[in-house]
Symmetry: C2
Subunit: 377 residues, 2 copies
DNA sequence: CTGAAAGCGCTTACAG
DNA sequence: CTGAAAGCGCTTACAG
């Protein structure tokens, strides 16, 4: 089929079927080379932005690309170079902590779009013993440029081992365990939880309840640790009775809140490991007829959209999602696992109306907000 | 680096460097054919479950596959057959209505995983005039087996035209406009909103407020239509003053609630087009010191997790997410756009504590729940 | 029931 | 600065 025929056909798409005409096949690198009067090698250089092509030639090729609406076939490219422009994003069930995962995904999507990559999302079950097989089946088959692990997958040794075996660069978000030859991206969850606890202590709280997250989440472990460190530093004895367990869902947060508020001597503040659970605590406080923050201060973690959507709005800890996604992306693309290590991005305590000194009414000041938008920002 | 050197390196990954050993290159179809003593054609048949291979041969090939941990390279497969095992999921920014989109994505992930497909998620901006180019760059390049359009992308003509041009099967979720040669999957939003309105009317409500969703969302249009039809059928005059606008976010729901509750003669019930906005309405009602449902009934739509996570829990309309994903998946895979048309899946009104007859206390009965889980179910 | 050969559309040494 | 050729790992008519 000649180039002109092809061009012709592409145009016929909206008209009724015409016979005797070959079907519009997308233009290939050969078509471009022919139209530009160069070899395919030269075209390849141009579309890959490689040097050593004269300006005039580059220009001519670009025009041909434009004329033919040529788009290099990613499959062929990947096959020939054994490196695809695809990143794998592996996540567990989204039920728990879904806000964080969804925001990371969105931010990664933006990065990929800007840089010409694509994101393959895969659902992997942390507890599946076949996890290694599943990983190989995907990674080996598709020469993924890298794999991003969302918690709690960041801490599944079998998964990481399988991934390392395939030589795929790995980025783990918010891991709780150490691992060699991988890139870790998170905030310092321990320091952040310590900061939040210190803030509550600074307000005058002494009996501070804590709602733990699921301990197979590394970040949940670190946040609990930060809480304890802050108490210790302030000379407040740790009291297991002031701790309750949740799995990062609203419902378990509510149960935990009921448990803590049923104590003979109830806490004056409750710090939940994430915003969903903090929302549950606030719901529980209604049943005890407690005013927030006069009778009970509540703090969350993550700066999820829900933390904004309550009344009073929730004091929480902001994670710089977009920056984390950007760090992960470039670490995986550019450094190709040579620069394994940890990226600790800065967190920020966001004070809103749900916390105050014991017995005091709250102040909910919009100016306290992080200036960055919640999503994509 | 020579091939043998390369092979060498991979093998040594966990052990100290060994010399003289070829590197573990992933097994190819040739390796399998050699080990099984057959041609690659036969191997191809076996791995693709094609007929006309004797049982004994199939057995031998399968063993070789197992022994070598062979996984067919998806890139090569896609290139050779010009059909990949990848589906594209296109969504707009996730801010509004993100719950629905996230749940669809999760359900599609499960479908893909079960059926050996992969999901490429792409962020497309409905208002981007270059939308056609963006689509081509992805679809044409990767021979996607099909593309799933999430609202509001379901109603972006330029996008759909570009997609049709590439001959890719298209599934639209919850579209508001008609389109030929595509597969549509949704519930009957109009009938569902009518059912909900009828339910409120049946409770004795006459002044029923309505919070519209963004009208570039087809489902928002249909839900508004259903509300009006129900009023008309009951002989209740439509009153634009009882309507307010939102964009499916909590915040706009709260504003809409404030607007409607500030009316001289305020509504006894408010039906919001989605759960997030209904939650906003409930928050607004607090500021007016209204008890729910005694002073105000509130209904939402979608049966999002948030509808469960409020007190009282929200009366809403359940969408069968998993069934929608399944219908979409098989429509795209099997029917390959030959059977274009609409799949209307059944909705279900879920009555909870936020609605009651005017002046009456609510009943929140767990048994009213749809027995299906929220996610994946 | 099975094989040998061509081809999918690129990239990549190797030459010049 | 550019070209001709081999090869990535599959599928698919075409033969038998």
């Amino acid at each position: 089929m000649s180039v002109s025929e092809k061009i012709d056909n592409a145009e016929t798409e909206d008209r009724p079927e015409e016979e005797g005409r070959p079907r519009p096949r997308p233009a290939t690198i050969y078509d471009v080379a022919e139209l530009a009067g160069v070899s395919i090698k030269t075209v390849s250089k141009v579309i890959n932005n490689l040097p050593q092509v004269s300006y005039a030639t580059r220009q001519r090729v670009s025009e041909a690309v434009e004329t033919l609406s040529f788009r290099p076939n990613q499959l062929a490219r990947g096959l020939a170079s054994s490196r695809s422009f695809m990143l794998g994003l592996f996540c567990d069930a989204p039920a728990a902590g879904s806000g964080y995962a969804a925001r990371i995904q969105m931010a990664m999507l933006t990065m990929c779009h800007n840089e010409g990559y694509h994101l393959i999302v895969e659902c992997v079950h942390a507890t599946n013993p076949q996890v290694g097989r599943q990983v190989n089946a995907l990674v080996a088959q598709s020469s993924l440029a890298g794999v991003l692990l969302m918690p709690p997958l960041s801490d599944v040794p079998a998964l990481i081992a399988a991934l390392k075996h395939t030589k795929t660069p790995i980025v783990r978000f918010s891991p709780g365990t150490a691992e060699s030859d991988v890139i870790d991206v998170d905030i310092d969850n321990c320091a952040a939880a310590r900061d939040m606890t210190n803030y509550l202590i600074g307000l005058g709280h002494r009996r501070i309840g804590f709602v733990r997250g699921p301990l197979y989440h590394g970040d949940a472990v670190m946040r609990f640790e930060g809480y304890r460190l802050a108490l210790a530093a302030a000379g407040i004895a740790f009291d297991e009775d002031l701790c309750a367990d949740g799995d990062y869902t609203y419902k378990t947060g509510m149960r935990a809140g009921e448990q803590l508020l049923s104590l003979p001597e109830r806490p004056s503040a409750i710090f939940a490991s994430n915003d969903d659970m903090a929302a549950g605590v606030m719901a529980a406080s209604l049943r005890f007829n407690l005013r927030i923050p006069q009778d009970l201060s509540v703090a969350g973690f993550d700066n999820e959209i829900i933390s904004h959507a309550m009344s009073p709005r929730l004091t929480t800890c902001h994670q710089p999602i977009a920056e984390m996604a950007e760090a992960a992306f470039f670490a995986i693309i550019r450094q190709n696992k040579k620069h394994a290590g940890t990226f600790h991005l800065p967190h920020k305590i966001v004070v809103r109306g749900s916390t105050a000194a014991p017995g005091m009414a709250g102040v909910d000041n919009d100016d306290n907000e992080a200036p960055t938008p919640f999503f994509n920002g």
